[in-house]
Structure formats: structure tokens, C-alpha cells
């Protein structure tokens, strides 16, 4: 059994889970919903095993390190964290249908990694040979994942709000009626960001601590650092917007989507379009 095979199983599981989620939205059948999220969790378990296996494989190759060192590994880890955060939100707040808008993000990550990215296990370059790598990457990606979940919820909010109008009197029919009420979605969005924001803050702090330890500067306005701060500013604005009249609901949902777009640019765009200290992430 190789990790690569298991990652393929994971991808397949997420894909079928997504399709069943769409079926769940159309049929509103609870059993279908259970099947959809169960399959997502099955994929999650397989992926967990695969990540551990890849970790072991790197030791067998003699270059042992946590599988968090290149773009392929980070994308795989990102989709793992997305399902993890979705699981936490589902278990805590019991809104299964959110999965229909969150599992696609995880699937997109896995499909991209499996089809287009170099999955080779490379040894660690000197810059990455530090325990800080683990703390920094895990906190950042858990934060990113919470923002992905918040973005999925916000898209649901925007669709539902458009259908119902801001007051919510004309009850929406069909698939959208299956969505939780706009008030609930607004609240879930806030809750996901409440998980993500402290994690992103920890991610930035651990990154700064690492930079200080390795280079003697905790902050050098490197594009990656700056973009993480941009993301932080956006979600800080979101959190303040929540307690201001007129900023709840639609504006908050838009801010959450913009925040996730910035997150994705921070994660991928910076490496692909800009130059800087994180270029080894390519």
C-alpha cells in the first residue's frame, strides 16, 4: 500500500461525496445527507493514513521529514484541514448541508495535487530544517481551512439572500430552501472565522518567531508576510464589522469571500506571481 494510491482513494471519496451532497440538496433526504458526509469522513480517514504513510516513506528514503515541505504536500494538507474544520463545524452546529459548499474546495485541492503537481518526496533544504516548520505550517493551514469553510458558508448566504431578498419574507423554494436560514448562515460564517482568526494569528506569530530565529528579523515585509498581514487586516475588519450596524449579513458575507480570495492569493498567488523568501513553496 502506498500513500499515492491512498491519496487517489481520498480524491475519489471527496468527489463522490460532493456528488451525493448535490443529491442531498435536491432530494432533502436525510439518509442521502448522512451518506454524503460519511463518505467525506471516510476520505478524511484514508487521507490521514496516507499522510502518515508518506511521512514514513520519507524516512525509508532517508530524507525523513513531515510531509509539509512543498506545494504538493501543502495542497494535500490544506484539503485535509478543510475537511477537519468542516467536521468540527458539522459536529458542533449540526448543519450538514454546508458540506455541499465546502467539500468541493477539498476536492479541488486533491484533484489539482494528484493530477498536476509533482508528488516526489524531496529532502529538506537548509532553510526548512527546523521544528518551526511544523508549528508554522499547521497553524497557518488550519486557519486557511477555517476561512475556506467560512467562504463556502458565505456563498450559501449570498445565494439564499438573493433568492429571498434581504428581509427573507418570500420563502425560497427548491434546493435553496434546504439551506439554513440567512441568520444561521451569518452566524456560522462568524463562528468559522472565530476559529480561523486566532489560528492565522498564531501562524503569523510562529512565522515571525521562525524568521527571527533563522534570519534575525521577525518581520521584513516579504510578499508572503505582507499578504498574510493583508488577510489578517481583512478578517480584523470583518470582526469589527460584526459589531457595527449595517455591516452584518450581506456585507459581512462579501468580506468573508474577499478574505478567502486574499488567503488563496497569499497561499498560491505569492509563490506563482511574486518573488520572495517562500519561493521554495513552488
Amino acid at each position: 500500500m502506498t500513500s499515492s494510491l491512498l491519496f487517489n482513494v481520498t480524491t475519489l471519496a471527496y468527489m463522490i461525496s460532493m456528488l451525493i451532497f448535490f443529491g442531498f440538496m435536491a432530494t432533502r433526504n436525510k439518509t442521502v445527507g448522512l451518506a454524503a458526509s460519511s463518505l467525506a469522513y471516510f476520505g478524511f480517514i484514508v487521507q490521514t493514513i496516507a499522510i502518515i504513510l508518506r511521512w514514513k516513506e520519507s524516512y525509508t528514503m532517508g530524507v525523513g521529514h513531515a510531509p509539509l515541505s512543498n506545494l504538493y504536500e501543502s495542497v494535500v494538507f490544506f484539503s485535509w484541514t478543510i475537511i477537519l474544520i468542516y467536521g468540527i463545524i458539522e459536529f458542533k452546529y449540526k448543519y450538514r448541508v454546508v458540506g455541499a459548499f465546502v467539500v468541493p474546495f477539498a476536492l479541488l485541492g486533491m484533484a489539482w495535487a494528484q493530477l498536476y503537481l509533482d508528488s516526489g518526496i524531496q529532502p529538506l533544504v537548509p532553510a526548512l530544517q527546523s521544528n518551526w516548520l511544523l508549528y508554522h505550517v499547521i497553524t497557518c493551514f488550519l486557519g486557511y481551512a477555517a476561512f475556506a469553510v467560512a467562504c463556502g458558508i458565505s456563498i450559501m448566504y449570498l445565494i439564499k439572500e438573493k433568492q429571498e431578498g434581504p428581509t427573507g419574507d418570500s420563502a425560497a423554494g427548491g434546493i435553496i430552501a434546504q439551506f439554513p436560514a440567512t441568520k444561521v448562515l451569518d452566524d456560522l460564517n462568524y463562528k468559522a472565522i472565530m476559529i480561523g482568526f486566532p489560528l492565522l494569528t498564531l501562524g503569523i506569530v510562529t512565522g515571525a518567531a521562525w524568521a527571527n530565529y533563522a534570519w534575525g528579523t521577525y518581520w521584513s515585509w516579504d510578499p508572503k508576510e505582507t499578504w498574510s498581514l493583508i488577510v489578517w487586516f481583512i478578517y480584523a475588519a470583518f470582526l469589527h464589522a460584526r459589531i457595527t450596524r449595517g455591516w452584518v449579513g450581506k456585507r459581512a458575507a462579501i468580506l468573508s469571500v474577499v478574505g478567502f480570495a486574499a488567503t488563496i492569493f497569499c497561499y498560491l498567488g505569492v509563490n506563482l506571481f511574486l518573488s520572495g523568501l517562500h519561493s521554495y513553496g513552488k
Binding site: P123, V125, P126, P198, G216, A237, V270
Partner: protein, 453 residues
């Protein structure tokens, strides 16, 4: 006039206290920060060369080449700080009063304002019920404060009141981080130095342009530098062995200290980080053998960098460049390599590369002389980042406070419960600052237990 002045001050105060200003500033900071990630900061001449004159003038006027230190970006940061402080000054006393002087009495007004209330009959006189309820709250929730008013007993208990200060902890943490950054920029420095193996230096060069070199007051000697590579050609380790010298003498405990990337050396608050390396240029000796195709006896050559040596055919040879590991430049080869330039006796130049691991490679060139590269005793320099930042612990304190503050504000809930006791009747009410549905479950559960006391 006085009235106008008053209104102006009032208006300015309200402006700086407003949440709308906070949101606008945060969005402005996010949007403007993008500029510095797109336009290179302190750019190289090559980049400037492909910009038009107007663009260069525009960018430098707006400070785009050092955007994060430009007057307007700093101004935004100052505005945010003033905004933070003003908001806190305005709201903190109210929150503090709320925590330190809680409403101890469940009167009608308070009862109406709370969504979770319940009233039930219970046997016993007020004093006996009061004692029962006090013990109950102490066991199930928190120690209550008992107040007597008009023959009624009021019990008040609360949990996590201080979580309401979380927001202010976060706000002050940002100011502490700014203070740490200021301490660093006034009392610290970031510098750079290159030391050739076997040499020492006490002077380092500032990263900031236009600043004078700094004398450390002690010297650093690079005993040795080594770079190792994986089979793939990717770098594995860059290591310098350093010794600290005071008055030319090695300092005990600071002799032959290896430093690698991610593991620096600190002496007297100044830290040395492995940052780069390169061939030292002077002092390197490269060894070659040269064989005439016809004659066939190999001749050894010793070539210093920058030096020309004569060849058996009357020409010359010089080393253009050499490396210990060629794979980084030419992935199909490995090991040491040298790029050499030869001049025949008539002066015709020829440039080619020789590989230590492929001694027969030069035969393919088809020249009259066949060269092999035997290796070089090359000296390296190590490039060290040198930094002192006395503000760094202030920054970490700020960061730790920020995390604590965020967790206080997000994950702790200020829960309050009141119980009013009169003869034969008990009224209970409660509220929480967060997760009201969760608190409601707890509250309903509490009532069930209460009825059975």
C-alpha cells in the same frame, strides 16, 4: 467661539472613537499593503531600467520603492493606534464598571431585560431557601453574592467576567508590538558581513543604505565553511565554524562554534546567522594536468585565481570560475568543476569547462592539449547576517498577549445568574455574553436540578 471649539473637539473625538474608522483603516491598510508586494522594494537597477522616467518619478514621490516606511503608510499605522487608544479610553471604563460593580439585585427592570427567566414555588421560608440556593449555586455554578432588599434575598453569581476585557488585551498587545518594533529600530541594527575562512573581522556593514559600518567591539573569526548537497543537487547544509575574539584572544565557550541555517550564534546580544557563502576569490589554488596528444607525458599545473600560467605549447591558461559542486548549474554533471580560458601561442582564445569526476571529458573537445581538473584548494567566504534587536522580547510579549486576548474574547463567555428568593417562591434568571443556545441548555438543566434541591 467656545461652543464651536467644543463641537470641533467633540467631533474629532467621536471620529477617532468610531468603529467605522477602524474598519476603514483596516481595509485601507490591507489595500495599500498590496502595492509593496507588486512593486519591488529598494529595487535593483535592472528593474528601474525598464520603467519609464515618469513612472520612476511618480513611484519615488509616493514612496512606493520603500512603501512600508513611507510617510503615508506610517500615518495610517499611527491613525490605527490613535483609533485603538481612543476606542479603549471611551469603552474600557464602562466595561470595567460592568465587571467590578455587577448588578446584584434582580429587580423588575433587569428581569424584563433578560430572555432566560423562570419562576417556581418552593416550600420553606426565605432565609432557609436562601441558604439552600447559595449552596446550590456554589456547587453547580459559582459562589454567589447575597443581597437583602425589602425582605427579599437576591443571589448573584458569575463566571469569566474578565473575558470582556479580551478585546482590550488584544488592542494593547498591538501597541506593545509597535513599541517593541520602535525599540528595535532605535536601539538595534541589522547588518551583514563576509568573512573568508581563516580571517576575522570586527566591522559589519549596515543593511540600511547610507549608514556607516559598525565596529562590534569584538571580532569574529571564520575557522571553516562547508556546504553539502543531496544526491539530487539540492543543498543539504551550509555550515560555518566561528570563534569570537576579544582583543585578539578567543573567548572561552565561544570557540569553534558551528552555526547552520536555523541555528545561529549569539554573543553579547548580537546574533550571527548563516546567510550566504561564496568562493573567496583570492588564495585559491587549482590543480590541473595537461597532456599533449602527441607527446603523451602529463604535466601538472598549479593555477592561482587571476593568474596566467604557461602551457607546454607556448600558450597560456587561466581559471575563469570554479565550483565545488557543479550540479546546481549543470544538473547532468556532478562534483567539482572549473571553467578555464586558454590562449594559444598565436593568441586565439578558447573557453571550456573541466569536470573532476569526468577526467576523459576533455578528449571530446578535440584540442591538441587534453586537460583534466584535479580539484582546487579553494577558500570560501561565509556571509553572515548580524543583528541586534533589544525590542524582540517586547514584540513576543505583545504577540503572546494578542493570542491570549483573542482566545479570551472568542472562546470564553461571561455567564451571569441571578436568583431571587421570597417566602415559598424562587425566581431564577441568567444571561451569557456568547453562545446563548448553549447557555440555554445549561440554564434549563440548572432549573431541573434546582427544583429537586
Amino acid at each position: 467661539m467656545t461652543i464651536n471649539k467644543r463641537t470641533f473637539t467633540q467631533a474629532a473625538w467621536d471620529f477617532f472613537c468610531s468603529l467605522k474608522l477602524s474598519i476603514s483603516l483596516l481595509i485601507c491598510l490591507a489595500a495599500t499593503s498590496v502595492i509593496g508586494t507588486v512593486i519591488p522594494q529598494s529595487p535593483q537597477r535592472e528593474y528601474l531600467a525598464h520603467l519609464t522616467e515618469t513612472k520612476i518619478r511618480l513611484y519615488s514621490t509616493l514612496g512606493f520603492f520603500d512603501m512600508y516606511h513611507s510617510w503615508w503608510f506610517i500615518l495610517l499605522l499611527y491613525l490605527l493606534t490613535v483609533n485603538l487608544v481612543a476606542c479603549s479610553i471611551k469603552r474600557l471604563p464602562r466595561v470595567w464598571k460592568f465587571i467590578s460593580e455587577p448588578n446584584l439585585v434582580l429587580d423588575d427592570g433587569l428581569e424584563k431585560s433578560l430572555s432566560l427567566t423562570h419562576e417556581f414555588k418552593k416550600q420553606g421560608d426565605a432565609a432557609a431557601l436562601r441558604d439552600k440556593m447559595t449552596a446550590f449555586l456554589k456547587g453547580e455554578f459559582a459562589e454567589p453574592v447575597v443581597t437583602e432588599r425589602d425582605g427579599e434575598f437576591h443571589l448573584f453569581a458569575q463566571k469569566n467576567p474578565y473575558c470582556r476585557l479580551g478585546v482590550y488585551v488584544v488592542h494593547s498587545s498591538i501597541i506593545i508590538i509597535f513599541i517593541g518594533a520602535l525599540i528595535g529600530s532605535y536601539f538595534g541594527f541589522k547588518a551583514y558581513v563576509q568573512i573568508t575562512e581563516g580571517m576575522s573581522t570586527s566591522t559589519v556593514y549596515m543593511m540600511q543604505r547610507g549608514e556607516k559600518p559598525l565596529d562590534l567591539g569584538f571580532a569574529v573569526r571564520c575557522e571553516k565553511f562547508s556546504a553539502s548537497f543531496y544526491d539530487t543537487g539540492a543543498p543539504k547544509e551550509f555550515k560555518s565554524i566561528l570563534t569570537i575574539l576579544e582583543n585578539g584572544q578567543p573567548v572561552k565557550g565561544y570557540e569553534n562554534i558551528p552555526i547552520v541555517v536555523n541555528d545561529p550564534l549569539t554573543y553579547k546580544g548580537i546574533t550571527f546567522y548563516q546567510s550566504s557563502y561564496g568562493p573567496a576569490g583570492d588564495g585559491a589554488v587549482y590543480r590541473f594536468t595537461v597532456k599533449d596528444k602527441k607527446v603523451g607525458t602529463p604535466v601538472n599545473l598549479m593555477v592561482r585565481k587571476g593568474e596566467r600560467v604557461s602551457l607546454p605549447n607556448g600558450g597560456y591558461l587561466q581559471v575563469v570560475d570554479a565550483t565545488q559542486e557543479v550540479r546546481t548549474f549543470m544538473p547532468q554533471f556532478s562534483g567539482p568543476a572549473a571553467k578555464v580560458e586558454t590562449f594559444s601561442s598565436s593568441g586565439t582564445p578558447d573557453t571550456f569547462i573541466l569536470f573532476k569526476n569526468f577526467p576523459d571529458f576533455d578528449r571530446q573537445r578535440g584540442g591538441d592539449l587534453i586537460f583534466t581538473y584535479e580539484g582546487g584548494d579553494e577558500k570560501f567566504y561565509t556571509g553572515l547576517q548580524v543583528a541586534k534587536d533589544p525590542g524582540v522580547w517586547t514584540v513576543w510579549t505583545g504577540c503572546a498577549l494578542m493570542i491570549v486576548g483573542i482566545c479570551m474574547a472568542f472562546f470564553l463567555s461571561h455567564k451571569r445568574i441571578w436568583i431571587r428568593v421570597v417566602n415559598g417562591r424562587v425566581t431564577i434568571a441568567g444571561t451569557a455574553s456568547k453562545n446563548q443556545p448553549g447557555f440555554q441548555l445549561f440554564f434549563d438543566n440548572l432549573i431541573d436540578k434546582l427544583k429537586n434541591v
